[in-house]
């Protein structure tokens, strides 16, 4: 496999992992929003 394809696949891998982490951060924010808003309401 050529170096370009290999490194492109690696970069895509980095992108996919980063996207997962980003989704995790979105999840954390949504969770915190829910907990804090629920606490305020109760």
């Amino acid at each position: 496999m050529s170096l370009f394809i290999k490194s492109l696949l690696f970069a895509c891998n980095v992108y996919i992992i980063s996207t997962f982490i980003v989704i995790l951060v979105i999840g954390i924010i949504n969770l915190l929003n829910k907990i804090i808003v629920n606490n305020k309401e109760s």
Partner: protein
């Protein structure tokens, strides 16, 4: 006549060194002296970012003028061409300690640049001037725009590899696409210390040009009627300081847990935000007026002083200039495509210019988005909304940097 001229030149060591150089290096030095003047002028006229460009231009002009024959630190009998500013090539601890007595900028370079402290200090300052409200109110939209705007950080990697750079060097160059100066410094120090100076110079010069170049890209890619969307229909939920502090603590801890390599950057950014949100006024004034301003000035000045002729004539420099352009160009394209997708998904309520803000470079790209929207529709105030993806861009660039630093040693590339 010739001997009189030679005697006259020998009175001034700077001129004497000039006469001892090769023609190419001498011409490059003259070019850099005038290029420094030019950067200084562009900073003074506010065409490029004055906070970085003025000290960088001053440093660049004067370091290339002030060269003389210096004794070698390890072997004083041997003389070579150098400056009284700093020596970035030293590695042995005893040589570095000796250099502290000779070069006036050496303590700043060794104690703040070579360990990444300067990037962390800038990040504390950026955190302290960052408003997280829109980002926390709309995390999905902000982060998704930001991840689209990381296209340059990803696609530049294989291009750099195929141009002959190693995997670590390619990753350090790719991070220029994240458009975050401190992150580029940090990544190059972690991954390719030997290219730290040229990568940082290329990154900071391009990041200053972003403000002038991205509006043209926007005008080319986004139709006029879409640029003027005012986003009035979107309500921004009020986010309390408590919520922002809790987010910083939790997100910072999770990110440090996942990527300990980038923990200094995460902790610096979130510390700055927490200082701001906790309203500790004494810390806020110190962070903004002393830490951020001081570190930005020394960052620009030291980078300028590092740009001597021998670095510019390195053939790798031209490749890095091309790759830096590709990285920021692709990130801009990715951001705008993300903006158009967000526009479609929101049934036309989101201004696609928000995508360019996802490139990061806080707050420059948000200002670019706002300025371009205002040119079409003077009632379109999108600055507040643009800060969401802009902040998210910092976080996504930190995540991608951390992924590169962690994964490259295991990749076998």
């Amino acid at each position: 006549m010739e001997s009189v001229l030679r005697d006259f030149i020998s009175i001034f060591p700077g001129l004497e060194v000039f006469s001892q150089m090769t023609l190419g290096t001498g011409l490059t030095r003259i070019f850099l002296i005038f290029f420094g003047f030019f950067l200084c002028y562009l900073g003074y006229k506010n065409i490029l970012e004055p906070l970085i460009m003025v000290p960088m231009g001053v440093g660049m002009s004067m370091v290339n003028a002030g060269m003389l024959m210096m004794p070698d630190i390890s072997n004083p009998q041997v003389h070579h061409i150098g400056t009284m500013f700093l020596n970035s090539m030293l590695e042995k601890p005893n040589e570095i300690v000796d250099a502290f007595q000779v070069y006036f900028l050496q303590p700043i370079y060794t104690l703040t640049f070579s360990n990444g402290l300067i990037a962390c200090l800038v990040f504390i300052g950026i955190g302290c001037i960052t408003e997280l409200s829109f980002f926390i109110a709309n995390p999905r939209m902000s982060l998704l725009l930001a991840i689209c705007a990381e296209l340059g950080s990803i696609l530049t990697f294989p291009i750099a590899m195929s141009m002959g750079f190693t995997a670590k060097q390619s990753a350090a160059i790719s991070i220029i696409g994240g458009a975050d100066g401190p992150m580029v410094l940090f990544a190059s120090l972690q991954l390719a210390k030997e290219l730290f100076v040229p990568i940082s110079i290329v990154a900071y010069i391009y990041l200053s040009i972003v403000y002038a170049g991205y509006p043209y890209m926007i005008k080319l890619l986004i139709p006029r009627h879409l640029r003027g969307i005012s986003m009035e229909g979107i309500e921004v939920k009020e986010v309390s300081s408590f919520e922002k502090i809790v987010f910083c603590l939790v997100a910072g801890t999770v990110l440090c847990l996942l990527f300990p390599v980038a923990a200094p950057l995460f902790v610096s950014f979130f510390l700055g935000v927490i200082i701001r949100e906790a309203k500790i006024t004494r810390y806020i004034s110190v962070t903004d007026e002393v830490i951020l301003s001081g570190s930005t000035m020394f960052l620009g000045f030291t980078l300028g002083c590092l740009l001597s002729a021998d670095i510019v004539v390195d053939p790798k420099m031209l490749k890095m200039i091309i790759l830096g352009f590709i990285a920021l160009f692709l990130s801009g394209i990715g951001g705008l495509v993300g903006g158009l997708i967000a526009y479609r998904l929101s049934n036309g309520t989101i201004n696609p210019l928000l995508g360019i803000a996802g490139v990061s470079c806080v707050p420059t790209t948000a200002k670019v988005a706002h300025k371009c929207a205002q040119e079409v529709n003077s009632s379109a105030y999108i600055m507040m909304y643009a800060m969401g993806p802009c902040i998210a861009g910092v976080i996504t660039t930190a995540i991608i940097t951390a992924c590169y630093v962690t994964l490259i040693p295991k990749s076998g590339l």
